[in-house]
C-alpha cells in the first residue's frame, strides 16, 4: 500500500495555506493570480484523493470542472491586468481602489 488519503489531504491543506499566504502577502495582481492557481489545485488534489478513497469517479469529474473554471478565471484576470497596464495604472492591488475606468 502506498500513502493513504490522509497524506494527500494534509499535503492539500499545506498547499492551500501557501496559496492563501501568496494572496494575502503579495501586492502584484499577477502573483495573486498565480497563488489562486495553487489554491485551486490544492482543492483538486483533495477531490481526486477522496475520489480514489471512495473508489468513484465523480470527484475526478468535479476536478475537471474546477480546471475549466480556473482556465476561465485566468482569461478574465489576465485580461483585466492587460487592461490596467494599457491605461497606465500601477499594478498593485492595494492601489486599485476604484472600478471606474
Amino acid at each position: 500500500m502506498g500513502p493513504d488519503v490522509s497524506w494527500y489531504i494534509v499535503l492539500s491543506a499545506l498547499l492551500f495555506t501557501i496559496g492563501s499566504m501568496g494572496v494575502l502577502l503579495r501586492r502584484s495582481p499577477l502573483i495573486v493570480l498565480l497563488s489562486l492557481e495553487i489554491m485551486l489545485n490544492s482543492a483538486n488534489l483533495a477531490l481526486i484523493g477522496f475520489a480514489r478513497h471512495v473508489g468513484q469517479t465523480d470527484g475526478q469529474v468535479f476536478a475537471l470542472a474546477v480546471m475549466a473554471v480556473a482556465a476561465s478565471e485566468v482569461v478574465v484576470g489576465l485580461g483585466l491586468i492587460v487592461a490596467l497596464h494599457r491605461s497606465n495604472v500601477e499594478l498593485d492591488v492595494d492601489k486599485l481602489t476604484t472600478l471606474r475606468g
Partner: protein
C-alpha cells in the same frame, strides 16, 4: 519493493509541490514565479497518477502546464519590467496577520478532517485498472453530470467573450489617448 518505490515517488512529488509553491510566492520576478508554478503543476500531475487519475494527470499537463501557463508567460512578457513586484514595505502587522490567518486555515482543515473522518481514512476502496481512465471519466461526465458539463461549456464561452471585450476596450482607450 514496489511499496517503497510508491512512497519514494510520493515524497519526491510532495516536496517538489511544496517547494515550488513556496518559490511561486517568494520570487520578486513574476516570470520566475510562473516557471515555478509549472513545476508545482507537474508534481501535482505525478500525485494524480499515484491516485490512479490518469486522465486528469494528462489534462493537468495539457491544460495547465501547456495552455494556461503559456498565457501567463505571454502576459508577463507583454507587461515587461512593470511586472516586477518586490515585497513592498508596508506595516508588518499586515504580514503577521496574513501568516496567522493562513496558519489558522491549515489547522482548521486538519482538525475538521481529523474529527469528521478520524479512523476511516486508512482503508481505501479497491478499484479496477480502468478507474480514472478517459472512458471512465467521460462516461460519468456525460451521463450523471451532464448538467455540470453544459454549464462548464457556458462558463468557458462567457470567459472567452469577456476576455475579448476586456482586450478590445483597453485597446480603444489606449488609441483614444
Amino acid at each position: 519493493m514496489g511499496n517503497v518505490l510508491v512512497w519514494l515517488v510520493w515524497f519526491v512529488a510532495a516536496v517538489g509541490c511544496l517547494g515550488s509553491g513556496v518559490a511561486v510566492i517568494s520570487f520578486s520576478n513574476p516570470f520566475y514565479s510562473a516557471i515555478a508554478l509549472i513545476g508545482n503543476l507537474a508534481s501535482l500531475a505525478v500525485l494524480y497518477l499515484l491516485l490512479s487519475a490518469e486522465f486528469l494527470a494528462a489534462a493537468q499537463v495539457l491544460v495547465y502546464a501547456g495552455a494556461v501557463m503559456v498565457m501567463f508567460l505571454f502576459v508577463i512578457a507583454y507587461i515587461g519590467r512593470d511586472a516586477d513586484a518586490p515585497f513592498a514595505g508596508g506595516p508588518s502587522w499586515m504580514a503577521i496577520a496574513a501568516v496567522v490567518a493562513a496558519g489558522v486555515i491549515l489547522v482548521d482543515v486538519v482538525i475538521a478532517i481529523g474529527l469528521s473522518a478520524g479512523g476511516r481514512l486508512s482503508d481505501s476502496a479497491d478499484v479496477e485498472d480502468a478507474f480514472g481512465g478517459p472512458a471512465d471519466v467521460g462516461e460519468v461526465f456525460l451521463t450523471d453530470h451532464l448538467l455540470a458539463f453544459e454549464i462548464t461549456s457556458i462558463v468557458l464561452l462567457v470567459a472567452a467573450v469577456g476576455g475579448v471585450i476586456l482586450g478590445s476596450e483597453a485597446r480603444k482607450r489606449a488609441a483614444a489617448r
